[in-house]
């Protein structure tokens, strides 16, 4: 007898179930993505592709999803919500040719007078309104929507764009003539989360007869008025008023004050020519605030360009330089044109230059022109700064050569770029009417992911002060879930060293240990620091010495000294750049990207975070100077332990992972290492790993435990002792 439901129908249903499960929002998420593409297309495109840097997916759809989900992770790491915000996403035909669109996004609706609204009779985008009131809008399929143009990846859609860049390695910039999908996704999601002025594009009346939330913070310095109190013609005039238009949100401006730089200038020995420069890009390295001084020389090399007799003859630096002896250790001046900036940058670097200055080849001399294609032309990262000057300034500098020292520095008397009277500028140019108000000003430096122009400068996931902007609008910060940063961080290419971070004292006290090597011997540093939104800072962080292991330990033997500082610049809860700045001049400052050893889900609201009650730092008060740091690595029960101690007056650290069973966490394979070097001289092949034995932690409550050390190494005795949390907490 035949089944009443055919196999084909079952398969169709199974496919539908798979699709539905794929699409259903997860209630614990901050942001839930609903992929609307059908199978085989867009985000579900099964075409095989080679892995991209940092993106191991091998189908086009999977690579696209990985990048979009990274963008969501980046935003969700910094934001919290009272409900899950739903985003409909898809690929579509958004057109090619003169009107090529890479992507589009926005809120799917507006709400006002909802519960928890911070003000009444004001229009809020659905996403923010839902986040505040703790409930989605059931009359809509989602709170926001984004679409991307699949034809970009087919090539031949637009001149000079061959496809999207799906790489996720923050050290590898997008290939030439590609557009960073991560930067685009962050930008579009930023609009959907609230960075969009809800005004009528024709007459500057507020959309739907009420002011919008963002307008509360839009202010004209010229008129000394908020948008809320202006007439529509005044709003229209202010929208093209240049640096007069500012955003007044407090958190945005605090972040802008510490981040934005004043204009750069080059000072030639013997006189300040007052040359204000447009920086090309916001990727590293930057010229330090105190400036960079070196002789300045003119590039000289083969290749096309101005002919003999032209003062810029042989200065394009499109091929390896002929005067490397002269360039080495100098700032090299090159002429713009004929080849991408990246090639000039590379040739200057290869010749040993400490910096490169590119003189423009066309006018006008304003910085908008100078920065016209900026970071899009940089497809690599090199360790020397690259700046540009206008055509006339370039001519002045060239005519002054040869000269002695030149200094690349900043005009500290000028306001930070993209600010006016201490407040950050919104875009307000008569040249960019379609972009005005709903973006930060293009004049700011470093650039923002919410500038009107996408430049690939945020390919590394840097979102500057977009989170602060959204928090000013009313989005909750990540403060209630800071512990999602806790755990072990390492660089897979530098296996054998790392750092462990915990958030003690109700997540308000970050404690960091970093374990590394010096001259083949173990070293560890420890300190408490502060969370500053986009980063953690531990300054100073301490190093110890002098004690012994086990019964030979005496707290009186421990010598504590300041080691230096560690800064963690966060990308999301799994990715960050660690910069270690030792005070010891024999050790170099060293910066490296690290990831969590066991990545966690960054897109979880604070109320759904895993229980990390036992995470933290413990010590024996009678043995001050040694201790252990414990962090939940993977929900539910994978834990990492670092035990920092001594042997014969030198530092020693043990590390391992274990599983929790009730009140016990057992680490059956603790390891001790040796053999490598600090910073740039580290080689993971030098690391020798030795089995130490086991450590068992038996908790009597969340603040107190008994530690049992079972060592298999004769120089480390086995022992048992009680420990207590350094910063006790409420256990309930």
């Amino acid at each position: 007898m035949n089944s009443p439901v055919s196999t084909r129908t079952y398969l169709a249903m199974a496919a539908a179930l798979g699709f539905a499960l794929f699409s259903l929002p997860v209630k614990a998420d901050v942001i839930s993505i609903n992929y609307q593409d059908r199978f085989g297309f867009g985000f579900r495109d099964n075409s095989p592709v080679a892995p991209a840097p940092g993106n191991e997916a091998t189908t086009l759809g999977a690579q696209r999803r990985a990048v979009l989900e990274r963008a969501v992770d980046i935003l969700a790491s910094r934001l919290d919500s009272n409900t899950t915000i739903r985003v409909n996403v898809r690929f579509d035909d958004l057109g090619c040719g003169d009107r090529t669109i890479l992507g589009q996004a926005g809120s799917l609706g507006l709400a006002r007078n909802f519960s928890n609204a911070p003000e009444t009779e004001v229009n809020f985008p659905y996403s923010l309104a839902a986040a505040l009131r703790g409930n989605i809008f059931s009359d809509s399929s989602a709170e926001m929507q984004a679409a991307f143009n699949f034809r970009i990846d087919q090539g031949n859609c637009s001149d000079n764009i061959t496809g999207f860049w799906y790489g996720l390695d923050p050290e590898v910039p997008p290939a030439f003539e590609t557009a960073s999908f991560l930067e685009l996704a962050l930008h579009e999601l930023g609009h959907g989360l609230g960075f969009q002025a809800l005004i009528d594009r024709d007459n500057f009346q507020f959309l739907f007869d009420r002011p919008d939330r963002m307008s509360r913070f839009v202010y004209s310095q010229n008129l000394d008025r908020s948008w809320r109190t202006m007439t529509a013609p005044q709003r229209q005039a202010s929208s093209t008023s240049g640096s007069s238009l500012v955003f007044t949100g407090e958190q945005t401006n605090l972040r802008a004050a510490e981040r934005l730089l004043p204009p750069g200038r080059i000072t030639l020995e013997g006189g300040d020519l007052g040359m204000f420069l447009a920086f090309l890009q916001s990727t590293q390295p930057r010229v330090p605030l105190e400036g960079l001084s070196a002789p300045m020389v003119l590039a000289n090399g083969p290749g096309p360009g101005p002919g003999p007799g032209d003062p810029w003859h042989r200065t394009l630096a499109c091929e390896p330089l002929s005067n490397a002896d002269e360039v080495a250790g100098s700032i090299v001046l090159v002429k713009r044109g004929e080849c991408p900036f990246a090639e000039k940058w590379q040739n200057a670097h290869d010749a040993g230059a400490v910096a490169i200055v590119v003189a423009d080849n066309v006018g006008p001399d304003d910085e908008t022109n100078i920065g016209r294609d900026s970071a899009m032309a940089l497809d690599r990262r090199l360790p020397i700064p690259i700046w540009a000057v206008s055509r006339s300034h370039g001519n002045q500098i060239r005519s002054s050569l040869p000269l002695g020292e030149a200094t690349m520095g900043y005009n500290n008397d000028a306001p930070a770029r993209g600010t006016n009277d201490g407040l950050v500028n919104l875009q307000a140019s008569s040249d960019t009417e379609g972009s005005n108000v709903s973006h930060f000003s293009n004049t700011m430096f470093p650039r923002s992911v919410m500038n009107p122009s996408i430049t690939n400068s945020a390919f590394d996931g840097g979102i500057d002060f977009l989170p602060e902007f959204l928090q000013d609008l009313g989005w909750m910060s990540e403060q209630a879930k800071l512990a999602h940063y806790s755990g072990n961080w390492f660089n897979p290419d530098r296996d054998g060293e790392g750092c462990q971070l915990t958030l003690d004292q109700d997540q308000s006290l970050p404690i960091l240990t970093c374990y590394f090597y010096r001259d083949g011997e173990q070293a560890w540093i420890i300190g408490d620091g502060q969370h500053l939104g986009d980063r953690f800072e531990f300054d100073p962080i301490y190093i110890t010495s002098g004690a012994d292991f086990g019964s030979g330990f005496s707290a009186d033997d421990v010598v504590v000294s300041e080691w230096g500082a560690v800064r963690i610049d966060l990308i999301d809860c799994n990715n960050a750049r660690f910069t270690m700045s030792p005070f010891d001049e024999d050790l170099p400052e060293f910066s490296t990207h690290k990831t969590r050893i066991m990545p966690v889900d960054c897109n979880i609201r604070s109320v759904n975070q895993p229980e990390r009650l036992l995470s933290g730092n413990y010590f024996d008060p009678e043995r001050d100077g040694e201790g252990l740091q414990l962090a939940l690595e993977s929900d539910p029960d994978i834990w990492a332990l670092s035990f920092y101690t001594y042997l014969n007056g030198k530092q020693a650290w043990l590390i391992g992972s274990g599983e929790r069973e009730g009140d016990r966490i057992h680490f059956d394979q603790m390891s001790i290492t040796s053999g490598a070097q600090f910073g740039p001289d580290f080689d993971s092949n030098d690391v020798q790993v030795t089995t130490f034995g086991a450590i068992t932690l038996d908790f009597s409550d969340c603040n107190n435990l008994e530690v049992t050390i079972d060592s298999v190494l004769p120089e480390f005795e086995s022992s048992q002792r009680d420990m207590t949390r350094i910063a006790p907490r409420e256990c309930n």
Partner: protein
């Protein structure tokens, strides 16, 4: 033959699950129907489509997608359908709804939506600019949903 309680319960669960799946499948097919139609796209020669897009202003009025002349081939018909659909979406007039708790909501995407557009400057260099999504229709035109004020003085005869 009587079913025992457990299989009957299982049968009931299976039926309910199938029903739910069918509802979901219908709902999802709705979502598909609203989105891009790859079959139509794939029937168009890519070169002809690019040519049709390049001369779009010949047969579609920028800003409104009103037909200026009949499309002459499949590629032009495809572009007309795409742009017309877009113009219809832009022209929708959303309505506020008031909920029992006093919350007022309005489903509206296009008036404030943003789009990132590829622009080529006078030197042939690419610029990626975020603009109002309305620019997908070409040059922005006045918002015809609103009552028009008096025409500019120069147009009064």
């Amino acid at each position: 033959m009587k079913h025992s309680g457990l299989p009957r319960l299982a049968f009931s669960i299976v039926n309910r699950t199938l029903a739910l799946l069918l509802i979901l499948a219908v709902a999802m097919s709705f979502a598909w129907a609203e989105s891009f139609d790859i079959e139509s796209f794939e029937q168009i020669d890519p070169e002809k489509l690019r040519q049709a897009e390049d001369r779009m202003d010949e047969y579609l009025e920028p800003g409104t997608a009103r037909l200026l002349r009949q499309p002459r081939n499949a590629a032009e018909r495809y572009v007309v359908a795409r742009q017309t659909r877009l113009a219809e979406q832009f022209a929708e007039t959303p309505q506020w709804r008031r909920q029992a708790d006093g919350t007022e909501t309005l489903q509206s995407f296009w008036p404030a939506a943003r789009a990132t557009r590829v622009a080529i400057d006078e030197h042939g260099r690419v610029q990626l600019k975020c603009v109002s999504a309305i620019e997908r229709l070409g040059r922005p035109l006045p918002d015809f949903r609103r009552p028009q004020t008096a025409p500019p003085a120069g147009m009064v005869k």
